[in-house]
Amino acid sequence: MTVNDSPLLELRGVRAAYHGITVLHGVDLTVAAGQVVALLGPNGAGKTTVLKAAAGLHPPSAGQLLMGGRDVTGIRPGRLARAGVCLIPEGRGVFPNLSVRDNLLMMTFCGRGREEIEETAYDRFPVLAARRTQQAGTLSGGEQQMLALARGLVTDPAVLLLDELSMGLAPLVVAELYELVAEIARQGVAVLVVEQFAAAVLKIADHAAVLVRGRIQWQGHPDSSLQAELSSYYLGSPT
């Protein structure tokens, strides 16, 4: 894998709060171009919040967000998206009442034209081509995730943020989707993946971080020592 050393996405001491209650207590995280970083941790640790902060959906209460070395803290999600940040949110990342084609049309705001996008997406996911006029909400869970992930593929993002891609999907589909993620990363995209179940994502990850109660408790290369770390955090007996 081509791993660049200068970080493309960097969170520096990011704190975030909901209604005055802090849920992130200073998170430092860097993702280089072409790198896949897995962010793991138990429920309620704040993983989704990290991604929301990185995508501008939930501005941090303190700390900095940098993209390619430039400070982008507090910029609106729309502008960040046009600048190359692509978040595929938890659950449905599609517009349920829009047709597949209209969902793809909504991906044209990041610069590429409609024909190009449809071609790339249908080429990669032929099932979607067969269902282009169907409402996205009536697609199967796997098809919906494909459509959602298609945005990460066709908009040429610099940074791809994925939240629980595997939720509710069969293991085979998950493996297939993560294969695609790895492929996207190989094109030089910085990928940050949040997962509850580590196995699938660790196959493709270059780096892993464990978030517990809003703090990064461990980070490093995803090897066997991580498994021990993880089980202790999930079982709630931190060392």
Binding site: A81, F95, L105, F109, R213
Partner: protein
Amino acid sequence: MDQFLAFTVVGLSTAAIYAVIGSGLVLTHTTAGVFNFAHGAAGMLAAFAYWQLAVGWGWPVPAALAVVLLVLAPAFGLLAERVLMRPVQALGEAERLVMTVALLTGCIALARWVWDPNTPRPLAAFLAGEPALRLGPAVVTWHQAITMATALAIAGGLWFLLHRTRAGTEMRASVDDRALAGLTGADPLRAGRLAWVLGIQLAAVGGILIAPTVALDAQQLSLLIVSAYTAAVFGRLRSLPLTFLGAVVVGLLEAYLAGYLPQNDYLPGLRLAAPALLLLLALLAFPHRRLPGRDRTLVRVPLPGRRGGLVLAGCVLAVALVLVSVLTEDEVISYGTLFPIGVIALSYVPLAGYAGQISLCQLSIAGIGAVVWGHLGAHGALWALPVAVLVAAAVGALVALPALRLSGIYLALGTVAFATVLDRWIFTLPAFHVLGVRISLFDQGSVSVAGPDLFGLRLTSPTDLVLFSAFCLAVTSLGLAALRRGRFGRRLVALRDSEAAYATLGGRLLAAKVAVFALSAGIAGLGGALYGMQLQTVTADQFSLVAGLPVFLIAVVGGLGSVGTGLFTGLAYVVPVQLLDGLGGWAQNLPALLVALAGLGFAHSPAGVIARLRAQWTPLGRDRQLLTALLGVLALCWAVAVLVPAGGRPALAAALVVAMVLRNRAAARAAAPADVPPEWWGVRRPWRPEDGEVLSRATAAAS
């Protein structure tokens, strides 16, 4: 045959206008996520503005059209989006509905304020001088031809916009999932603005096209929208072709009824009410899906304590005593209506506040209570009062039957249709006989209403009636507070939170809904009877749909879940009107405008003003010393108002100032020093809702 063709042409050109307005409704619904009750009112304002430019100031028609459609309408749309809708974006459907109702009231008040309703304002049809077109045997005026062509062009343009352009997709996507739309790089704000601009422009086109064929009257024009609602409901608020079909059905129906309905005393109203009847049928016949979107934040329904209820009842009686002792007889008559209005407003509490069912026809039902009491209780027979309540309750149960299938805006629409049918038809009927019983309503005029006879004590003077109404308001408030604490109240709140969950838990949805509609209609009927007694004569106008909207809005601002909303609504509805009355004619429409503005301010405290007031005044209520001081000052002010001529207003002002000062003192005293250690939270300072969360986080972080 010729006649039939002529009616058809008229019907189709009316249909074209309904189609334009209806498609505007559908557009705002699918692209801004709002069912805009004020859509017709926006068209009405456009018609007035167009009249002002083209006739009033004699501008050339194209210039006037351009200014209205390209400058004023978009500006209005942008303003509505910014001021009204954006603040309630994150709240529920009900809150958005309230905002558009407030806008409707505001528009009507504004139009009446600017354009004196007593001056006729004829508006010429387009190309009225040109000879009509002959298409075979049919004769079509230029205005009709232009109308139909416009509708077709708009239909095509909208279809293209929504289904073939990125801007249209962006608008639909923003309604579907606003956050996700932002993540794709689209701009939901821009989409919302565009949706509003287009929607209001369509309303303006409709308003300008229809104005020459009907009188330029603010209320009438705003309510023509009922026909367009029907068209939009045919399209299930999302399909443009079906909306056009619905418009054709409504337009032709109206034209043929106008042409062929036999002339007698009973039927002209039916013609006017036909679109509303059709609306009811369409609501019931078509299945309705709620708009997508998960952004529903339910406002808490407060649980009133026993003491709170008694304090409230005490306040009601105290206000009544002060009024009757301080005011002159004439003033008592006009201020006294605050108690009946309060009772009517209370009817929203179980229905909308507890059970979450929005009804806009409560004042109409109150009208039924008033006429039943007026006729049966003409000699004050007390048994007629429960009968009036029961008849109103029965009507409420009748409304509940269709309501079982409807919820949210569809229910609100259904009650609008019901109120419209009453306004345009039932309330205008002369007396008639059913199974040998003579039924008479407003007798095509007014009905005089007597006071009740309380076991030999005849209540006739305004003072007696005010005290009686105040007593009823106090008792109803207490009753509703008890209801909320009891089993039925808790069930209603559960029903509001989730009908599906309520049903799966074994609740009987049907019984609960019918019961709550009947209960609230009964309360409204009581309020109507009391209102009638106070007014002494009643007319149908006093109980119309539009007259009921301000009561609804103020009750919402007060907080539909609080029983205090009765007293609050009464005071807020009556007192400003009376205080401003002295200021002369120009101030006449100011109160209605204020109501609308207050409705708009609602966005900033969706739980209601009463909850805020309560929080602000509780410290004073707990502080013995200051409370005693306050009561002393109030008694003093009261004495001054009673004894000193013209001392009323200064005394009121003094009482208010002192009360505010004491309130702030009490609040300052109650506020504990800033750093109370956690183990004393809830002891040295009141427990705050966020404390639990803070503690559990702190312990979690420490472990």
